[in-house]
Symmetry: C2
Subunit: 202 residues, 2 copies
DNA sequence: TGATGAAAAAAATATTGAAAATTTCATTTT
DNA sequence: AAAATGAAATTTTCAATATTTTTTTCATCA
């Protein structure tokens, strides 16, 4: 991208490496906001902040306080830890998520524990590692404006697609789009799945 | 969709259930053609057939012969078996792929065995089950106009992203987009991955 | 200094006309 | 009769432009 330079001041600013708010919280917020189809103005209003401020925050130009982070986490039903990573190698972190360092997406643990397999938010789809505890169930059927697919790693999950019942076992996979979905783990052990959602909903 | 009815003949035709060429080969062909950005005319020419004929075939309005199927399979580097499924429950087949009945995508087995985890072609992304034999390697680095992600189920795979080397082990995941990629299984056992590609390339 | 609010810039969203692709179907071929 | 063609009719796609919305920038305020 070419940048038109007008003043010396701006030059200095642009030459500085972007101050990464420990991982790029701003970019995460932008992706989360976009996944909800909210505008800067929508989110700023909710947070009781100005549009200009949010614009700078999302571009990692200015830091935000812990209070704001907490508000945002709550707003998107994410644990605050979601926004903090301790990646050793930053080039690796751009592409790889190691088994032990996934970002946990589950706010209040309750039967379903989800963690992110993609290195960051954004992109055409989202890949999630999901653990369904025994007895866990989706409270009520849902429909999402997404295309979703999954693969069973362990255990067994019962998936209802438009009221049809399918029992999925390790190695089984599925895909649906715009269907009415619900699920339950009727087994005695965790059901572990890989779940792909396009576009991301987080 | 509303259908304007003009003649009695047409009414009868429309009321008939669509004659499924054992699984919907036509739809597969359409998806394959589209994934290559070919027009009906492009493919028809290659097959030495008329555009009108291909249009009917792709819409499952008319059958095609085994010769044509063979040509098409070869054209897309797929085994002929790819186009035939023996799904018991047709509603299930629309959503679920059972562990044992995946469609095999590998034409000439050679280190990498891929099979389709999605119930059919088409959609925003493709999910593939990939088995990399010990020693198997990608001949030369490639770049694809896609966003791709993966998850390691078993074994170990070395992935090069823009010349950076990453050794991936079970539970590790990755994602890239527009990078220069190559890979090799340096281990002594199969490396088994789930691979997601958007949009599909087949 | 952190944040605001309004002007400037950029991006997304419609509109439209033309071109390309697809479908339909009467006719020809086998 | 069934299979396949080719051309007309229809639909879709694409590019160019105007409009509106969203985002960025930055002078100024608390």
């Amino acid at each position: 991208m070419l940048v038109k330079i007008k003043h010396d001041k701006k030059v200095k600013l642009l030459q500085k490496p972007p101050l990464r708010s420990s991982g790029k919280i701003g970019s995460d917020i932008r992706a989360l906001r976009r996944s909800r189809n909210w505008t800067l103005s929508d989110l700023a209003k909710t947070l009781g902040r100005s549009v200009g401020w949010l614009s700078q925050v999302e571009r990692n130009v200015s830091e935000l306080g812990l209070d704001d982070i907490r508000n945002i986490a709550r707003l998107f039903s994410l644990p605050v830890t979601f926004f903090f990573t301790d990646a050793a190698d930053s080039n690796e972190a751009a592409y790889i998520v190691r088994s032990g360092t996934r970002r946990i997406m589950t706010d209040t643990p309750k039967g379903l524990a989800e963690s992110l397999l993609s290195p960051d938010l954004g992109g055409a789809f989202e890949i999630v590692h999901s653990v369904f505890a025994p007895g866990a169930a989706c409270p009520e059927p849902f429909v999402r404006p997404t295309e979703e697919a999954g693969y069973v790693l362990e255990g067994s999950l019962v998936l209802f697609i438009n009221a049809a019942r399918f029992e999925l076992n390790p190695g089984d996979s599925f895909r649906f789009s715009g269907e009415k979905i619900s699920w339950i783990n009727e087994g005695a052990v965790n059901a572990v799945l890989i779940w792909v959602i396009a576009p991301p909903v987080y």
